[in-house]
Amino acid sequence: MKLEGKQQIWNDYQKEIANDQYYYARSCIRQTFFPGSEWAYLDILGNKLGKTVFDDPKHTTCTGIGYHSDVVPVETIMTVVARHFALMTEAGFENMTPSCITSFGIYTEILHTWEQHPEMEEKTREFLWKATGREFRKPRNLAHTSDVIYKFRNEIAAQKKYSLKDIHTGRPLQVVDHIGCHYAKMFPAKGIGGAEFPAVLSGMVTAWGGESIDYPERRHCCGFGFRNYLVLANRGFSVANSKKKFESMQPYEPDFIITNCPGCAMFLDKWQYTISEMEGITYGHNGYGIPVLTYEEMAALVLGYDPWEIGLQMHQVSVEPLLDKMGIPYVPEAKYKNAKGEDMGHPAYPTYLKVY
């Protein structure tokens, strides 16, 4: 692939990302499935980069999943989002940083809609006022949390304890980056690098010593697709999409996958188990699957956080082979112990997928 061409595109698709003072909007899936990721993000921004991030307890779901599944009407979701903006305004922030790609897409879409149809914004203000008595200002800057990490990738690189390199061979790790569909496919200008050659995650990977893999199905959806997964009858298509991606990336022998969308991380991780159970097929090396990390986890590992502290035991695909390659020490016995040192129990072993 021609790097010059991609660089041209990356230059064309740059966006403004606030430097500090973030209002943090949590993600339903992230905090449920990868709570350590969220903690790591807040800790890195607060403690490693010295930024102010406000994690508001009053903040709720954006109802994006319901919206995309035709359960939540557009007026409702606009009002819910308006409430988020009101909370941000009340807290004295102007920079909205949602952790979820769906939310990021929803915010982008709604802001754009209001721009095109001011009467809808007026109506939403009216709904919000009637429902909660709140008023809001629209965010001055809207960025996904991965944008924020991307912005500070070089600062993180300066503090890094481990590189995305195989310490035994010095080979840069081969990383598959998967971008959530709603990050840039709806509004290419709102994503770093646009929709076709997004650079938000690959930028981090290269900054931290790894190499990004551009494989044929890179742009393809992970298969979540809301109705595809949520309706049982469609679930076969959902998993078939993930399978297609795995088959396409397999020849590149990726060391791990990172995603910036919580749902994708969950799917690419857990569908590997599902596919192995259904068809006896595993991807990656030696039957252990391809580890899937969120970009927060990747940043945390680079910065030297303890793997179990950031919740890597929550992953279906074992991360130990990756940790070994990067030379990150870990205590195997501590994997399933809680903060108090008590045993949390061990998950059942899959039939085909090997686990540590």
């Binding site: 076969g236 078939a240 399978k243 259904m278």
Partner: protein, 114 residues
Amino acid sequence: MMNFWGFSIAEARVIDYDKNDKSLAEMLAEEMPTTRLCIGCGGCSATCTAGNLTEFNIRKLQMLLKRGETKDLRDQLHKCMLCGKCLLVCPRGVDTRKMILFLFRQLSEQDHNS
């Protein structure tokens, strides 16, 4: 494929041109060069006696074959009655009836070998 938890992995619908086995189509083209001439006008399938009563669609079947998709061929081909009407309407002079016979023979040979 096993049906887990109420669903199974959907088969890809895509024509995987790289993976598909197109040897039968190549053999057909070699044996009967006129089959290369099809422009997909549908005259054959419109006049087809079997095609008006069943899923059998000779235009589609030969096109699928050319892309290496032979499943439908196996499921449908035998519905043809070899009446030869398709031959009379083809504007490109494709020897449709001979093509079908050739395919019959190939399938029968494959069955025989397996």
